[in-house]
Amino acid sequence: MPERDMVVDESVTSVRLKQAFAEAVLDQHAEHGDDTLTVRREAWREVAQFLRDEPDLRYNVLMDLTAVDYLTLGDGGRTPRYEVVAHLYSLSHNQRVRLKTAVPDDDPRIDSLMPVWEGANWFEREVYDMFGITFDDHPDLRRILLYNGFEGHPLRKDYPQDKEQPLDHNAQDPTFYMNKRDDAGSETRHMFVHMGPSHPAMHGVIHMTLELDGETIVDGDTEIGYLHRAFEKEAESHTYTQVIPYTDRLNYVSPLINNVGFVLAVEKLFDVETPERCQYIRVLVSELSRITDHLTCIAANAMELGAFTVYFYFIKAREEIWKLVEAICGARLTTTYTRVGGVMADLPAGFADQLAQVLVLLHEQMHDVERLLQKNRIFHDRMRGTGVIAPRDALALSFSGPVLRSTGVDFDVRKTTPYLVYDRLDFDVPLGDSGDNYDRYLVRMEEIRQSVRLVEQCMAQMPDGPVQLDDARMTMPPKAEVYGTIEGLMNHFKLIIEGIKPPAGEAYVPVEGANGELGFYLVSDGTGRPYRCRVRPPCFALMQGLQKMLKGGMVADVVATFGTINMIAGENDR
């Protein structure tokens, strides 16, 4: 499109890329502020390599990699049919770029990015699983969320949503991994252990295959997808408002952050900003959710190490926060609190007092837990030096959140890409230095404190005012207007039946989820339903690094490391 070429502020990235690959860059735009580059499929890996290695670009993190099927876009769709989309982040220059390339229907293949970023592994497997696009040079391209006997690729637009699938229990050979190795030459035989899907520590349902030499882990594999509920496919057939309840179930330990992230992405498509009070409330509920998430993580972690009492201390504190959440939005877990353009309702009366009481209790419980754990030699022995990951590996594997920060890498979306009112609030980002389980525990404990600070500042700074944007495109008219005026009635009818209709375009919004960068990538075709709704789940990236962190450790370390990674299956498997 000609207008796009006239964008004044052309980013450094696109200038440098065009210099280096004049032929390869097909299109460039910066809709909604997202720097976007479309490149030729043949140059995909070269461009990626260039973006990573060029000193003034240094896109060292592959945040997300997904695809979009444009078969039914507008009238007759678009050729080439698929688009593979990568979201890159440069830690040293704090900038983001969206890299896209078209993949035709008759030859759905593309170079794998694994030689550039190791973390492309699972993301590419998911694209293969969902779209049937194959990645050349990918060492381990097999289905990831779905099972082997699954027919078709569900996120393709021509995949019928009500298609029945054969449920062949033998489709997935449980010993697929076991047969891979040959230990005939060794003196002792290695033992293979299946951890999960039914195992007390594999909460959220996950399956690990471990190869053991005595108690030492030699090798292993992680199998996910047991909680796959086709969130992304479901979103395509629901209005934007109807998707919000589904986001509750992504990270079900901190559902409010998902709510906030999703509506922020829709609002980005509209290019609107919500009223100030609403923004403060959104920060407030996000931080409350972060606290509940970290409490749950540390509690479950300690329980799995055998310190059962800690679990109850923290769950008690979490319970009180959930009561607060219930007071705010009427539900403890299935919150569905945010709306496009605002939040469901203002804070309830007497909230400030209730919150103050809860924070006192939280402080007491944290004090107790710190004395139970941090002054305990056994806890130190179990956590220190186990599940270690180097910052380099963590970045290559697309890590983010507390796990990345425990390695000493200073990356927090709330600081690097401030959204809502985070830039007006004062908080620190705690960093570890050794990247082991103990540092992850410490980072989470400190983040709870920082979240408390944020919550307190929100309560102090929050102005009065509306909590919902007065915009007929997204906000329901008041009931009096619906019943009293024809415009109000029509507006209400359109919003309910057809849904909110953001302008056509695409937007990616990252928020700092409890486990790291939670990204929502929305493609709108101008109708009331998202054309594509992609979630960048933070623990998906963490989980692909799990085996690396476990290798060489002992069986008992599995629970400690898996616990501090804090996989939430709802988000991981979607």
Binding site: M191, A201, E215, L305, I378, R382, V555
Partner: protein, 361 residues
């Protein structure tokens, strides 16, 4: 003659019943105590005639549940050994108590009844011999289940129990040196003597280091947190993962009976057994010449038995509290602690004790 046999049978019956019931009651105590520690209410649902009795009936409900559940033997398991293992685990726990004296002697007319099932002159050796057999139960359970997790649990259990037995044995030798006997009743009697005229010569006074070593090693033998890695319910579920019904209950009962045994041994060796300070066969002899308080024989015996029971219960309480306070060790850390720290300390303690005993005598 037949009266003697009858008395012995009666003693056996009483000790066995008390032991088993105390074990079952400990399951209740563990739940209620953990609930108190964890800010919970604990079990309070099982009712008889509308009374919950602080959840006491849950022990009963558990028994009924265990008996009525399906007894499952997995495919590929060694049926005989799989069935034998729970018995092998419970048997040593039940018979160890035979050598532990729970009172001095009871005189009824002409008859003198020692309050102990068997006053063996090698009491300590008997206890070690029997309790070391407990490892067979766990090892067999792990091996016969045809399950990798159970096997890991069995391996962990056997290596841990064998390792800690050495420390346990060594820590006791100091006690034996000081009391110059392996006969438990004699050890207890000698703990009634006074040091400097006022301090009871209890094991903990003369052998404090041995007490801590013994307690740590005994907890490891008992396989409870922080040494519960053969069970490790969140890692490998344990050597009894393939057990159900009463067989499973037997493993659990064995664990709780072992708690009583450990408490009993600790009380006997380090806390004067049935001794009450300054209480002798004819009453209290207060130190510093404060006089004598005469008591009837039956009351003295009752006091002594009650003192022993009290000490055992305190021991159980300590063991339960530890369970709900600490996280679990890792396999290599347990081995490190056992072989490189506790064993060395036990040797040093032994050496010091030997030198001191030699110098004094």
């Amino acid at each position: 003659m037949w009266v003697d046999v009858l008395i012995i049978l009666l003693k056996v019956l009483v000790v066995l019943l008390v032991l088993i019931h105390l074990g079952a009651l400990l399951t209740w105590a563990e739940r209620k105590q953990s609930a108190a520690i964890q800010d919970r209410i604990g079990p309070n649902r099982a009712r008889i005639a509308g009374r919950a009795a602080m959840g006491l009936f849950h022990a009963l409900a558990d028994g009924i549940k265990m008996v009525t559940k399906e007894d499952f033997v997995p495919a590929g398991a060694h049926r005989t050994l799989h069935t034998l293992a729970p018995a092998a685990a419970l048997f040593p726990a039940l018979v160890v108590f035979a050598a532990i004296p729970f009172g001095d002697v009871l005189r009824i007319g002409e008859r003198v009844i020692p309050l102990q099932i068997a006053d063996l002159n090698v009491g300590i050796v008997y206890i070690f011999a029997i309790s070391s057999m407990a490892v067979y139960g766990t090892m067999l359970a792990g091996w016969a289940s045809n399950n990798n997790y159970a096997l890991l649990g069995g391996l962990r259990a056997s290596s841990q129990m064998i390792s800690y037995e050495i420390t346990m044995g060594l820590s006791i030798i100091g006690v034996l040196m000081i009391y110059e006997s392996a006969q438990l009743n004699v050890i207890v009697q000698k703990q009634g003597e006074l040091l400097w005229g006022f301090l009871p010569k209890w094991g903990i006074v003369v052998q404090p280091a041995a007490f801590f070593l013994f307690l740590a090693a005994a907890m490891a033998e008992n396989k409870r947190v922080p040494f519960d890695l053969p069970e490790g319910e969140s890692e490998i579920i344990g050597y009894f993962v393939e057990y159900s019904s009463m067989k499973f209950a037997m493993f659990f009962l064995a664990e709780f009976v072992e708690i009583v045994i450990v408490s009993g041994l600790v009380a006997t060796l380090f806390f004067g057994g049935w001794q009450v300070p300054y209480l002798y066969a004819d009453g209290f002899h207060w130190p510093f010449g404060l006089g004598v308080w005469q008591l009837p024989h039956l009351l003295v015996v009752l006091l002594q038995v009650a003192a022993f029971g009290f000490k055992v219960l305190i021991g159980c309480w300590v063991l339960l509290t530890v369970r709900w306070t600490l996280p679990r060790f890792r396999y290599d850390q347990v081995m490190h602690l056992g072989w490189k720290i506790l064993l060395e300390l036990a040797f040093v303690n032994l050496l010091i004790t030997a030198v001191v005993v030699l110098l004094i005598t």
